[in-house]
Structures are given as C-alpha cells and as structure tokens.
Subunit: 277 residues, 2 copies
C-alpha cells in the first residue's frame, strides 16, 4: 500500500466526541499531513466498543498504516477495549486526569461522559444559553431595535461582512446576547448612527471587511448587481469605517478571520466573560 | 487563605483558546472541584506573555493555591514564558505533538496558532460553512419550504422542543444544512405530514420532549397561556409522537440532552459526515 496516502484518523468517545475532535484537529493541524477522519460518538457499551476495535484493526490490516486514534472515553471498560486496538491511540482526557488528581488531591468522580451534557447542575446555565440564542435570533439583522438594553454586544457593519454568523457563534458557544445591525445601500448617502443605537454606544462593535472579499461574497448571492459591484462595496466599506472612526466605535476587519477568531477577539476587546458549556 | 475556595483556572493561547477551554473543561468536569476560570486568548507577543505570567504568579501569591493553567500555545517563545510561571501548567497540544511526530515520521510545521483560523487552504470549506448557516436561517421554523431538496436534515417537532438551536449548531459546528419545521397548535386537530415534506421522507428527523419540561420552557415565555398549559403540551407531544411512529420517522427525546448531544446523535443516527473547522 502507498504509505503516502491520507492517514486515517479516528475520534472515539462515549459522549459526543466533540472534545476529541477539537483537540485532535488542533494537534494534527501542526503537521503537514493529509488525513481522513471518522468520528465515532456514543460508544457506550462493550459490544459497540469491540466493533470499533475491529473496525480500526481491519483498516490497519487493509492499509498497512496504523490509524491515529484520539480517545475521549470516561468508562474504563470501554477505554481498555479501544486501547487494545492496533491503532496509535492517544487518550486525550485521561492523560491529564492523573497529574490533576495529584495536584488537586482529589479523586476523579466521573459518572458518565457528559462533558457537553445537560444535568440538573447546569440546567439554569443551559436555559440561559438557549435564551441567548433566542435573543440573538430576535435581534439579527436589525429585525428589532427593542430590548437592545439587554444586549451584551451590538455588532454593526455592511451586509455580508460576517455579523450574523459571529452573533450566532457568540450566543451558541459563549452564551452572549449579541444583537446586530446592518447598514444598507440606502443609508450611504448620508450615513449616520441610528438614534436607537446611540444610548448603547459602549456596546457597539464594528465589523469591516476588504471590499474585494466583500464583492466576491456578494457575487455568490447576487451576480452582476450593483449590490455586488466593487464600486458599491468600496463605497459602503469606506463610509462605514469613517462612521466607526467618527463615533470612536471599536472595530475589526473580518477578512482573514474565522467566526471563532472574530468572536473571541470581540470578547477579548470588550472585556466580556465567556461562559463555558 | 481558604484552600477549599474555588480553584483558579487559566486557559491561555496564542489563538482563540477554544481548544484549551474545551479540553480543560472536559478534564475538570471529572473532578468534584469548584473552579473559577479566566481565558486569555491571543497572547501573541513576549510582552503580553510576561504580563500573563505575572498575573498567574500574583494570584498564587495572593491565594496560596497554585492556579491550574491549560495552555494551547504554538510559539515556543511564548510557551516557555508561561511554563515558567508558578501555575500548574498543562500544555495540552504540545504534549501530543512529540508522540505524533514519532508516529508520523514528520516534523511539525506550525506557522501560527490558526487551529480555528481562516487560511487560503480552507477558504472554500469555510464559505460552505457560512452557506450552511445561511441556509439553516432561511429554513428555520418552516419559514421557507422551497429548496428543501438541498437540506441534509429536516427537523420536525412542536414549538420549543429544541429544533432551532439544534439546527444552528448542526450548521455552525458541522457545516450541515439543517431545515426545521414546527407543528403548531392549529395543526393538532388533524395532524398530518405536510405534503411539502413527503418527498423528503429520508431526511426527516423528529424531536420530542417531555410535556413537563415543555410546559416549563413555554411558561418562561408565555405564562398562564393555553400554549404553555400542561394539557396543551401533553396533547401536542402525544399527537406529534404518533405522527412520527405512523410515518416511521426516526426521532429522539431532547429533554435530557444538550444541543451538542442532540446534534451529534442526529448525525450518528442519520449517518451524516461531520465537517471539522
């Protein structure tokens, strides 16, 4: 077999496998290696664990290359079965439990893999997160300017600069109530900060974007329109950036950043605390 | 100082710190210990790293208890500074790099901490993710029944059973185009599968919820209404579950699950591939 082929990667968990994916992906992104991954969540009983082990072993047999296996499994019984497979196994959570046990002087008390779970202990916090998502949807794209006093951040920017995905990510990942307000083409003749936003100056945060990237994004949706033209994109971005500067609204250019990066930069700049789920 | 007080935890990164948070949170959730956490992302230069080190040391001096420090830092220079702090440091990404380096027979080639970053290599994939979010918003709550042929999953259920947060999580985290359709009170007299959904039988997935939890959620929004009454909630849930069974629509009860768990269970049951960002 060709050892230069894509390397197989397994993410295995008795929970959602999100933790295994996030860490495995972070580590693998440090290597110039092509990978092909399979995620196997909710491996919760011996039978399924043995089937997973057989799947890993069969792939190794077939390819001649050891699959990489990132494990986040709380059940010792399940973990042991996977660790006995022929894969190159990295037990990402367990490898940190032993040193922490010593440092904390407390034994771990795992009940089940509910890292991303819903329990009586976190139900209130969970409801607040869902409320943040509801709030953000109700205040997307300037739909409602009522209740802005409850926003933790109000994002401003031109159409398609990333306001909506960023707002939703802030709500979903961090429980932040994020409103957003679009400046549209008709505003550009005489761009002003809407009176409804003025009382919330300290919650405003601007997003901007390179006109070239903006035009490319708009072309995808509305080819050969004024809306998607370079001229219009340059005009809108220029006007909106001038407005941000005039009103001393903090802003960042989203062009080269993912929603994760934009959202965490906003929290950092505004000094907002992240909730964790 | 009281050693039984909440233990301080730092999540430190030269990127978003999301990886450090996810893994640190997963590990700490195994211990019956109260924690208080601070996330410090984008620690990208020596000056900021030294300030972070001073912050950790000052907290230790003040409390007499070593802060726990989860690090996801790619820059060796920055990492070294943090590791020299008085905190109990766990370098979560780096600890996996050495074994993988040996297994892969390839040196790591980190450029910067862009685990959640946007690069020329992943721009197409990123655009597809944003398109999935757009799609999901445009097909939330039955807003549009056009274009359902492009959905990868269509969630069905009563109002407030978790359709919208689950759809958005599927889009945001996994790049899945998820539509959702609500059954409302007026449908209940003669509940039928809407004709517009019938061609997409194999994409349908039902969510149900315990009537008690549903009533509690609805009471938060519309206290003392018929909509939020136990009687109405029981009726709707009963009718909708019967519909799922009649049409052999796969479904799950969302009552005790988080959006992460619901979303990953749906992908697992439907055999949908996760994208990773």
């Amino acid at each position: 077999m060709d050892v230069n082929a894509e390397r197989s990667v397994f993410y295995i968990s008795d929970g959602t496998a999100i933790t295994a994916e996030v860490l495995g992906h972070a580590v693998l992104s440090q290597f110039p290696v092509a990978t092909q991954s399979v995620t196997l969540p909710f491996v919760e009983n011996v039978q399924r664990a043995q089937a997973v082990k057989a799947q890993i072993n069969a792939l190794y047999q077939h390819s001649g290359v050891r699959p990489l296996v990132f494990i986040s499994v709380i059940s010792p019984e399940i973990r042991e079965i996977i660790l006995q497979s022929d894969g190159f196994c990295q037990d990402i959570v367990q490898s940190l439990v032993a040193p922490l046990q010593q440092e904390l002087g407390v034994d771990p008390a795992p009940v089940a893999n509910r890292t991303h779970g819903l329990t009586a202990n976190n139900l209130g916090k969970y409801d607040a997160r869902i409320a943040a998502i509801d709030y953000t949807l109700a205040h997307d794209d300037g739909i409602s300017l009522r209740g802005l006093e409850d926003a933790q951040v109000i994002l401003l920017g031109v159409s398609r600069c990333g306001k909506t995905p960023t707002s939703l990510y802030l709500a979903m990942q961090f429980g932040i109530r994020a409103a957003n307000y679009p400046f549209i083409a008709d505003d550009m003749d005489n761009l002003k900060l809407p009176p409804a936003l003025k009382p919330f100056q300290n919650k405003l945060f601007g997003l901007t974007i390179d006109p070239e990237r903006l035009a490319a994004i708009r072309q995808e949706r509305a080819e050969n329109t004024r809306y998607a033209s370079m001229r219009q994109c340059r005009l809108e971005v220029g006007e909106v950036e001038a407005l941000f500067r005039t009103h001393q609204i903090r802003y960042l250019n989203s062009t080269n950043y993912s929603v994760e990066e934009i959202a965490t930069k906003i929290l950092d700049i505004m000094g907002l605390t992240r909730r964790m789920y």
